[in-house]
């Protein structure tokens, strides 16, 4: 029986490899909120097709997983207003802070960017506080 942390580490290595492939191959940073954000902007960047293909890869990844193991059960809240508020905050905050868990967390911290380390420390802290407060009420 392989432990959960082995899967976590393997998955993490895949995510980091993905970022390294995009960096070395295309000179691009795998920041998902940035890619999504530019898609909803009215002015499309010149390499928008590459961005769409990255998103398409993310979207179809479950198909490549399915032949080997059943997809994991997704456990998530049923509270509609909570989901809407969380989505708005995540979208707004990621654009305002120029990145999310992928761009700052995986890519930026790995190049020891001061901005990314500060961003990651900030969103981990507010995330932990949010969860702690929700457990109290």
């Amino acid at each position: 029986m392989i432990e959960d942390w082995t899967f976590a580490a393997m998955g993490g290595l895949l995510i980091g490899t993905s970022a390294a492939v995009l960096l070395l191959g295309n000179g691009r940073i795998a920041g998902i909120s940035g890619i999504l954000g530019q898609m909803v902007d009215r002015r499309l960047p010149g390499d928008w097709q590459e961005r769409v293909l990255f998103l398409l890869g993310l979207l179809v990844a479950p198909l490549f997983y399915l032949p080997f193991a059943p997809l994991p059960e997704i456990a998530v809240t049923n509270n509609v207003s909570l989901i809407v508020v969380a989505g708005l905050l995540v979208g707004f905050g990621a654009r305002m802070g120029s990145g999310c868990t992928s761009g700052h967390g995986v890519c930026g911290t790995a190049r020891l960017s001061r901005r990314s380390i500060a961003a990651m420390a900030t969103f981990m802290t507010t995330g932990i506080i949010t969860v702690a407060i929700m457990n109290l009420v």
Binding site: A8, L13, L24, I32, A86, G91, M96, T101, V106, G127
Partner: protein
């Protein structure tokens, strides 16, 4: 070739999110539950991801061009401004509320229950709202 690289990179990223269980919102929230029933497993995702990504950056430092054309990203901007901190703080609150961030939201779309598409719609709306707020600020007289 650049397009193929983008697609492969996206698939690898999505597979990593699913294999590691990072695409599972309650799992992510239990990782953030430091003062409750803390589940440290996802720390291994970040360690593995940053490790592999750092190797990419170390190799990239010795190259001026990307393998399939185009330049490497410019050096990291060192200035920590208010937008970075306030935006990240807002992002973290939303992340803690439901346990979803942009990458897992995209990867879980194909097999997720209704909550994930709803979150995705709200998240894209939040991005548009930020964009509009920027434009209003720029057009407002100083």
């Amino acid at each position: 070739m650049r397009k193929f690289t983008s697609l492969i990179s996206g698939i690898l990223f999505g597979l990593g999110l699913i294999i590691s269980d990072m695409a599972n919102p309650e799992r992510v929230r239990s990782f953030m539950d430091l003062f409750g029933d803390w589940d440290p497993t996802l720390a291994f995702v970040m360690i593995g991801a940053i490790f592999a990504s750092a190797i990419g950056w170390i190799i990239a430092r010795r190259r001026s061009m990307a393998l399939f054309g185009g330049s490497m990203p410019p050096p990291a901007n060192p200035s920590i401004d208010q937008n970075l901190i306030v935006g990240s703080a807002i992002f973290g609150i939303g992340w803690g509320l439901v346990g979803l961030c942009p990458g897992p939201a995209v990867s879980a779309m194909a097999f997720a229950p209704w909550q994930v598409p709803l979150f995705m719609a709200a998240m894209l709306t939040g991005m548009v709202v930020f964009k509009i707020s920027q434009e209003l600020r720029q057009s407002a007289p100083a």
